[in-house]
Amino acid sequence: MDGLDRPYDRTPGVEYQESGANYLSYTVGLGLAIVLTIASFVVAQTHLLWSPGIPVGLVVLAFAQIGVHLVFFLHLGTGPDHTNNILALAFGLLVVFLVITGSCWIIANLDANMMPMHS
């Protein structure tokens, strides 16, 4: 039984018994992150994308970048060891989504219903 013999479970940042691939995975992650960062700056500063689409492009690149960080730096994978970490992260993302979209939605409504300011 390969898995049960391991002295440690794997968690983000810990990958015992998998030497060799580790330095490589950090380096691959660094390369991808640098490419995505440069792509974000290029998209923001040039007219490569249709201008109204630039924010969407930047958000997509940011999510890709965060994915690269989670997989290559924090070693979050799809394995059964990661179930608890992924669930906690998914709950966190739900709260983040609710806080940000909820605030923007409510405040935009309040703003639209404000009495006009004199001056």
Binding site: D9, L74, A88, S103
Partner: protein, 208 residues
């Protein structure tokens, strides 16, 4: 695998679901710290929401486009990214009981983080000089709160890193020191993830 004993259950179905007894301390510590990181990200989401709501309210004061120096932001981003990479290599070295390598990578982690912080603080000082402090407008309050909170996290991470290097030198790579190092590297990588959000929302989207 036709035998009906417990051994017949594939390991990947038991691990992480309570099979094989209680989880090792290392897993419990890392999971607890992971919960802290998720709640820290949740706290940042409130600052991001405030920024998103207030970013247009400049009250006649300077806008992001007038204040931000994008080449500086690019250098900051690269410093933080390389610092995260060095921290990852340091964590790997520590887990393989290579204390010398860990210390070298940690020095790089620290220096790159310090360069990031130096650029950020000098940009903050330049903003104060032109009257773009946090009290100038709602936009600037939100900007200083969000970017400042990230900078404060980086500062505490640098202090923590010095403390960890001192522990490794004084105590060696013992299991409890390794667990603290694991928490530090999770923290440092998480700061990079938050910076991706700051970079995209504040700098790249805010500067036309």
């Amino acid at each position: 695998m036709t035998s009906a004993t417990i051994d017949a259950v594939p390991a990947e179905l038991v691990r992480g679901r309570g099979g094989g007894g209680p989880a090792p301390t290392r897993t419990v510590v890392a999971y607890g710290f992971w919960i802290f990181i998720v709640s820290d990200i949740t706290m940042f989401s409130a600052l991001f929401a405030a920024y998103a709501v207030l970013s247009g309210r400049t009250a006649g004061g300077p806008t992001a486009g007038e204040l931000v120096n994008l080449p500086h932001v690019f250098i900051e981003t690269m410093c933080l990214l390389l610092s995260s990479y060095a921290a990852g290599l340091g964590a790997l070295s520590a887990e393989r009981w290579r204390q010398d390598r860990f210390l070298i990578f940690s020095v790089f982690t620290f220096l790159l983080g310090a360069v990031f912080l130096f650029i950020e603080i000098s940009d903050f000082a330049a903003m104060m000089k032109v009257g773009a402090g946090p009290s100038r407008s709602a936009f600037l309050s939100a900007y200083w709160a969000l970017v400042g909170a990230h900078g404060a996290h980086v500062t505490s991470g640098l202090v923590w890193l010095i403390y960890m290097m001192a522990q490794v030198v004084a105590k060696g790579l013992r299991p409890h020191v390794l667990r603290r190092l694991l928490c530090f590297s999770l923290f440092w990588h998480a700061l990079d993830i938050i910076w991706v959000g700051v970079l995209t929302v504040v700098y790249l989207m805010g500067v036309p």
